[in-house]
Symmetry: C2
Subunit: 252 residues, 2 copies
């Protein structure tokens, strides 16, 4: 069944009002009519089967038929902080990372990031990012839409990371040192509702200064398998592995 | 260090001759000269540090300085058979799947595949695929370049799968039945050198006929986490999870 994330202000008890792009999708793309049903997601993670009761001037009204018990959210919160990569790689990370269960994304200006964001275009970019994560959430049947924060500096990133209790960064060089704690040892220790902050470098990796700053702030360096992953593949490896460990390995 | 996969016929004991695109890359992109070094990969998975000894008419000759002991290959062989998806999704799967350690790829004509391959363009397409997996292998420091086989029918796919001892297909519906064997239970049983055949449906998933045919031929249906993954994300989840389990969870 088609799924739509509907803002809190559009819910009035069991009556939902849908306008804008979602209404367009319902009426023009799906060609739904009165009595057709879809899944409506309330932002506080509840979802319901909704039946269309009225269509007027491109606005859809629907009633909740049944609240659903389903939950497709990871048992831990994972935020991906990604050093600004080239081209449309960040968009790939947002889309695939949402499917794979990330709670949030933060782009940051890494020392080796080559792209510069035009301040004027930042709003347009953020709208586009919001659309990508919303659509990916709908398509993957998630209960929540991940957040995409604004571009941060390393300093702001470190400050933000103080809200998290598990902090890692992808840095294969570290796998060669003596006191190395492996990625899997960190995943094994995860407990429900842990908040995990994952920092990924841009194409050229982290600078020495960034590595030292991350370490000083309790980020643990991890290796993600023995092959060298491209910058946009690393977060997908992290998310798939944690999903596999917590949602597939444990659940059966 | 830059890595190049060099065909067997270009090796003569410890002397390597490089021409064509790789020579162009060495001389024009990397701007290497005599005495510069790179990693040369012999197709039988051995790699060596090679030093350039001669450059003439765009052809590079190099001597092996040191054979390397490194191995970045998965302990099991994994082939991804992918129901022909739309657009450039197959190219994404080839590139990311190579980074994540796949041994081979087989595109197949699924009942719900919408794209049709133009026979005339098939050779050009195969050249492009070969280039993608070669470049991804070099970039991710693999010892082997994965194979990309020609487009198969379901019948040919089933015949090909008889060479494999573990066969799975992504089919989340199945996670709801009683005798379900989870993906992680299958991964836990993997032993070194096992040959794993992974079948992924196109955008609309498998047809009922395909599901039945796969089951009759000992393919086990698996769920890949509780979220619905896009067709191109499913093989990446499988590869990252198996890498995580066999290369990260076990190795430490």
């Amino acid at each position: 069944m088609q799924r739509y994330f509907i803002p809190a202000e559009n819910w009035e008890d069991d009556l939902v009002t849908i306008d804008g792009e979602d209404a367009h999708h319902i009426l023009r793309v799906m060609r739904y009519q009165v009595n057709d049903t879809f899944i409506g997601n309330h932002p506080n993670t509840k979802a319901a089967i909704c039946k269309i009761v009225n269509v007027e001037a491109g606005v859809v009204q629907a009633y909740v038929e049944q609240w659903l018990e389903e939950n497709a959210e990871m048992p831990v919160e994972i935020t991906i902080a990604h050093g600004l990569p080239k081209g449309d790689k960040l968009e790939l990370v947002l889309q695939k990372g949402t499917e794979l269960g990330a709670s949030g994304f933060i782009p940051f200006k890494a020392d080796r990031s080559i792209v510069k964001w035009d301040k004027k275009k930042e709003n347009k970019k953020r709208d586009r990012f919001a659309k990508i994560v919303k659509e990916a959430s709908e398509q993957s049947h998630r209960n929540k839409v991940p957040t995409v924060q604004q571009l941060m500096s390393l300093h702001e990133l470190i400050e933000e990371s103080s809200k998290y209790n598990v902090k890692i960064f992808a840095y294969e060089e570290e796998a060669k040192v003596v006191n190395y704690i492996s990625f899997s040892e960190i995943v094994k220790e995860l407990r429900e509702s842990d908040r995990v902050f994952v920092c990924i470098g841009p194409e050229g990796g982290f600078s020495q200064h960034e590595v030292e700053t991350l370490k000083e702030n309790d980020f643990k360096p991890v290796r993600l398998g023995p092959r060298i992953l491209r910058t946009e593949t690393a977060p997908l490896y992290v998310l798939a592995s944690i999903s596999y460990h917590l949602e597939e390995l444990r659940c059966k």
